[in-house]
């Protein structure tokens, strides 16, 4: 299949990208790595008149430290994320989850920001961003604004990024001493999407769980925070992990599709949460 005709604009700065979007409005579409957008164009499920390529905007790429945060440029590719020292040291959960994304070819082109802006509930990175309390820095003609992850993912393939805006970078609080993490992805073949995924970060203190953050992939139309589990784990001993994990499906609305009906996904969420939290707690 081939896409319908469109015009192509390559932006070299955030301002240029924003200006192009302002000019073309709803008819324009931002392209990052193109790994999700191009399939949509090829299948003619999306018909933008203008594609604004931000893939080479230097200020949107790379990883830097900013005090207690890491700042990850939206155009940082999955491959770069996996091999980035800062990310591995301070936000290893992101690297671990990104390793499970697709295959090497896709990981060399697909980007961290693209994956978040695409907001596929089966994508692995939105749940991770949510679990880590990441913040998204979004630029539009009116300037920049910062949106916390809880307010970023609005619905299936829908985020707080407006048609005339771009996601510039993502600020992620560093995980400090005492934190462990695990991304449990359940899928049938190596390069397929998650049927269910669980991102867990756990801080241990004196043999108990002092704090836990759990994000769920593909358990609703957006990534979901398993707050029931987090609450039950707060101050809990390691023996209580199973019991806490039993609350993983609370408040979710899992889809039913080829890979699993909702009840099976709910069951998987419980099992995988137990496994992820147990591993993150280092036991």
């Amino acid at each position: 299949m081939i896409p319908a005709q469109f015009d192509y604009v390559r932006a070299s700065s955030v301002d240029e990208a924003v200006a192009a979007l302002a000019e073309h409005g709803d008819e324009a579409k931002v392209m990052a790595g193109g790994q999700s957008l191009i399939p949509l164009l090829r299948l003619r499920l999306s018909y933008p008149e203008v594609v604004v390529d931000v893939g080479r905007v230097a200020e949107m790429a790379g990883v830097r430290e900013d005090g207690a945060h890491l700042v990850i440029g939206a155009m940082t590719t999955h491959h770069e994320v996996i091999h980035n020292e800062l990310i591995r040291r301070h936000c290893g959960l992101i690297a671990e989850a990104t390793e499970t994304v697709a295959d090497p070819a896709v990981r060399h082109r697909g980007t961290f920001g693209g994956a978040l802006a695409h907001a596929d509930p089966a994508g692995d990175l939105p749940a991770v961003a949510l679990a880590l309390d990441a913040e998204m820095v979004i630029a539009g003609s009116g300037g920049r604004r910062t949106v916390p992850a809880e307010e970023f993912f609005l619905d299936y393939l829908q985020t707080a990024v407006q048609p005339d805006e771009v996601l510039v970078e993502v600020r992620v609080p560093k995980l400090g001493e005492g934190w462990g993490y695990r991304y449990e992805k359940f899928h049938r073949v190596a390069q397929s999407w998650a049927i269910v995924g669980v991102a867990a970060a756990v801080r241990r203190s004196n043999g108990t769980i002092a704090e836990a953050r759990v994000g769920l992939t593909n358990m609703g139309s957006t990534p979901v925070r398993a707050s029931g589990v987090e609450e039950a784990l707060n101050g809990a001993s390691l023996e209580r992990i199973g019991e806490a994990a039993d609350r993983a499906a609370e408040g979710t609305s899992a889809p039913s599709d080829l890979n699993g009906k909702a009840d099976y996904r709910e069951h998987l969420a419980r099992v995988l949460t137990r496994r992820a939290v147990t591993a993150a707690a280092g036991s």
Binding site: Q191, S192, S256, K261
Partner: protein, 821 residues
């Protein structure tokens, strides 16, 4: 002889035979680097591009198809509806009349009034570029008046069901029945009756290269050259002549390098007729190439058989009688071999076992889905799955080890040749030897001990062991047998072997490689027969102008039948060369000996002639023997006397995570007996690929339609084809019991791995869970199905919700499976 007629001194060092050695494939450098020509890369001056608008409805009446909008678009040359093209081609053929009651519906390349599956062609667009054609296609307007879709085989046969073909008046395409002895008598003697329903789900073949056709009408003398990504160029020529009304001698068909087929390109397709018809109408070369998702809808599917199986046995494990009742989904139309596929497998239900009686019944059913046809193994994987699943289930019921039950029933090596209950004579085999070797490689006893331990400790990860001791019948096929079966063609194969003036060799074979490595294998055979270097042999195939006679490649026939023809033709060349050598030596041919490419006069060591020297002498023809001619060439046509019966033992160990339902293959051991081996590396490749495809059916692949008849698994995103990371290391070995029915002693290996592996894997999955009360898991054994099977067995859940997308939208899923009585 004078110096001028001396052959250019060929170097023939003492040569070693190459048959039996793992030579690298000649064709791989070209294929792997892409420096070759696929159909889609064929270019012709003035080439036009064809795209096809396909029905999004499973069943609908076309009340309006208006292509006028498309004609306004830039770059458009033409656009046609099915009714515009009634004079360009007729219906597509079915080659196998399997029964007297067979109903063959009209099947036009472009639908005329009713569409019958999602993907049925509705209109065609021809443009100067592919892009322009795709854009213009969006401007075609079609009004569909929906008709009820027929999707479930059992409902399709019920009274009052909507019909796929109104004019036929029934959804039953054919019924077939065969009795071998009195099954009822066996049943009366039996004290154990195993009754089971197994389901072979619908699969989508995934040749790496999607289908593609180019037709150039600008050849000399008003002839047409068709390039097609096909397994059967010779059949395409014959049938295109019939479908398009173009004289056969005006059609040349070339199958350039073809990127896999697995049976899916063993067919005559609508697009071949469309392109030929359009090229003729427009007097311009045209090309059509499928996208992957288009291929998913418009290329045949495989399997889709519901199997009711009953074994009548004694409680001490003697299997007496076998009853099989099949429902097999034809899809919306009959493609080339559609109705014959399940029947090709019918002799394989009794498999390697000494049943006294066998009752076989089969019903073909139309549905509003893509037609089914041959897919790697074609009927035999289905049969092997059912019998090997049933034998494992019976063993469990009798508390016998599954190997032990097989030992009590299989044909022993001293009983060959053996005539089975179906009347088929197996020439050779040694099931004991292959099984013993496999058990040893596998470490069967240790794995059984580990399984017991995991059961005892209630490990969340359970271990299961599955067995499959298959045989199959391949090497299609004796022409007389095919005639008796109602097939329109024969099963012979032909080869020409000729020496060129400078001493090289050309092998012309009527088989049609599409990835298997014929060029390598046939070169090995010819090189040894003629005593020439392997590199000096060229294999010419896949072009009806260069290879006028051939019946192409399918059914693991190329080596067994085609290779035999190559060997015999090469021997013919040696015979002719010998006459010439004798003439030149002025010796009696009987006094000549031939070794490693050189003729010698016995007792006169200095009198030698190489076959290359003789090729040149024959070319110059300055002095010729009586009865020899200018070219050292010989033909041979082989019509096989019977089938080839490879066999083997496949053992699979799986770990099943009972919490998630995930299955992981831990060990996969197979010992195949395919007789003599020409190239062990190619054999290994065929086994690996075959086993991978069989595992894919067991665990991953499944074509799913929703209740409106949409193909939900419409791309590689949803139709899960496993890749290397998902598959285990295959531990392969062989035993070698030569076939006695061909001079090479070979048996086919193209399908064996696929036939054998599926039941080994599913048996392993069930074996892991049997102690939890599970006695079947439907394929593909997805984690969800496994999980539901465990929960269903515990009585805590509905194991298979009817009509849910997850379960294929077909209520056959919930049709009660049989139980032990």
């Amino acid at each position: 002889m004078t110096a001028t007629t001396e052959a250019p001194a060929p170097e023939v060092p003492g040569r070693q035979n190459v048959v039996g050695t793992p030579l690298r494939r000649k064709e791989d450098a070209r294929l792997v680097t892409g420096r070759t020509r696929w159909t889609d890369s064929v270019a012709a001056p003035g080439l036009l591009h064809v795209v096809i608008l396909r029905s999004p409805m499973a069943h609908a009446r076309l009340t309006r198809v208006d292509v006028s909008g498309a004609l306004q678009r830039p770059g458009i040359v033409a656009a046609y509806t099915g009714l515009d093209l009634v004079d360009d081609f007729g219906g597509l053929p079915t080659a196998w009349t399997v029964s007297e009651d067979l109903k063959t519906p009209s099947h036009f390349p472009v639908a005329r009034d009713v569409v019958r599956y999602v993907g049925d062609a509705v209109a065609v667009v021809v443009a100067s570029s592919h892009d322009a054609a795709v854009d213009a296609m969006e401007a075609i307007e079609v009004d569909y008046e929906p008709l009820p879709a027929v999707l479930d085989m059992e409902q399709a046969m019920a009274d009052g069901s909507p019909l796929v073909h109104d004019d036929i008046g029934t959804n039953t395409c054919f019924t077939y029945h065969e009795e071998h002895g009195s099954y009822q008598a066996s049943k009366a003697k039996a004290d154990v009756l195993l009754t089971r329903r197994y389901v072979n789900q619908r699969l989508i073949p995934n040749a790496m290269e999607p289908r593609s056709v180019v037709v150039d009408p600008t050849g000399a003398a008003d002839s047409f050259t068709i390039w097609s990504s096909t397994q059967v160029p010779h059949f395409v020529r014959i049938f295109m002549a019939l479908v398009c009304g173009i004289p056969e001698h005006k059609i040349r068909v070339i199958a350039p390098d073809v990127g896999g087929g697995f049976g899916s390109k063993l067919d005559i397709y609508a697009e071949e007729a469309i392109c030929l018809g359009l090229a003729k109408r427009l007097h311009r070369p045209v090309k059509w190439t499928a996208s992957r998702s288009e291929d998913y809808q418009a290329t045949i599917h495989g399997r889709d058989v519901i199997q009711d199986v009953e074994i009548a046995a004694t409680s001490d494990g003697k299997m007496l009688g076998l009853r099989v009742d099949l429902l097999t989904d034809m899809g919306a139309y009959l493609q080339l071999l559609t109705p014959s596929i399940a029947l090709l497998g019918r002799y394989m239900y009794p498999a390697i076992y000494k049943f006294e009686t066998h009752s076989f019944h089969c019903t073909g059913v139309f549905s509003n889905k893509t037609p089914t046809d041959a897919y790697r193994g074609a009927g035999r994987p289905e049969a092997t799955f059912a019998i090997e699943r049933a034998v494992d289930d019976l063993a469990a019921h009798l508390h016998l080890d599954p190997i032990e039950l097989r030992r009590r029933n299989w044909i022993t090596h001293d009983e060959f040749p053996y005539t089975t209950v179906c009347g088929l004579e197996y020439d050779s085999g040694n099931y004991e030897a292959a099984t013993d070797k496999a058990l040893e490689l596998f470490g069967y006893d240790a794995l059984r001990a580990e399984q017991a331990e995991r059961r005892r400790s209630n490990d969340p990860v359970q271990l299961g062991i599955g067995v499959s001791t298959y045989t199959e019948m391949c090497g299609l096929a004796p022409s007389r047998w095919l005639g008796e079966q109602g097939y329109v063609a024969g099963g012979w194969e032909r080869a020409t072997v000729r020496m060129t003036p400078l001493g090289k060799v050309e092998v012309v074979s009527g088989t049609s490689p599409h990835g298997q490595g014929h060029a390598t294998t046939f070169s090995q055979i010819a090189a040894d027969a003629l005593g020439v270097p392997f590199e000096d042999v060229e294999v010419i195939v896949n072009d009806t102008a260069a290879v006028p006679w051939g019946l192409d490649t399918y059914g693991s026939r190329s080596l067994v039948v085609g290779g035999t023809a190559v060997r015999r033709a090469a021997e013919g060349v040696v015979e002719k060369a010998k006459l010439l050598a004798a003439h030149l030596f002025e010796a009696d041919p009987a006094d000549l000996e031939f070794d490693s490419g050189t003729f010698r006069v016995k007792g006169t060591p200095s009198a030698t002639k190489t076959i290359q020297e003789l090729a040149f002498a024959s070319f110059t023809s300055h002095t010729m023997a009586e009865g020899s001619d200018a070219i050292l060439t010989a033909d041979h046509l082989v019509d096989p006397e019977t089938f080839s019966f490879p066999h083997g033992t496949h053992l699979c160990a799986v770990e099943v995570d009972t919490e998630t339902g995930m299955t992981k293959i831990r060990r996969y051991v197979c010992v195949d007996d395919i007789g003599k081996v020409v190239n062990p590396m190619i054999v290994e490749g065929q086994v690996h690929g075959g086993v991978a495809q069989g595992i894919a059916q067991a665990l991953y692949e499944e074509a799913v339609y929703d209740d409106a008849g949409n193909l939900v698994t419409g791309s590689l995103v949803d139709y899960l084809v496993p890749a290397a990371p998902d598959l285990p290391t295959f531990e392969t070995d062989r035993t070698e019991t030569p076939s006695t029915t061909n001079p090479l002693g070979v048996k086919g290996v193209g399908e064996a791995g696929t036939i054998a592996s599926t039941p080994a894997v599913v048996n392993a999955v069930v074996d892991a869970l049997r102690h939890l009360g599970v006695d079947d898991v439907r394929m593909a054994c997805t984690p969800e199905r496994v999980w539901r099977a465990i929960h269903g067995a515990r009585g805590s859940d509905d194991p298979a919700p009817a009509g849910s997308v997850v379960y294929g939208g077909a209520t056959t899923e919930t049709t009660a499976g049989g139980r032990l009585t």
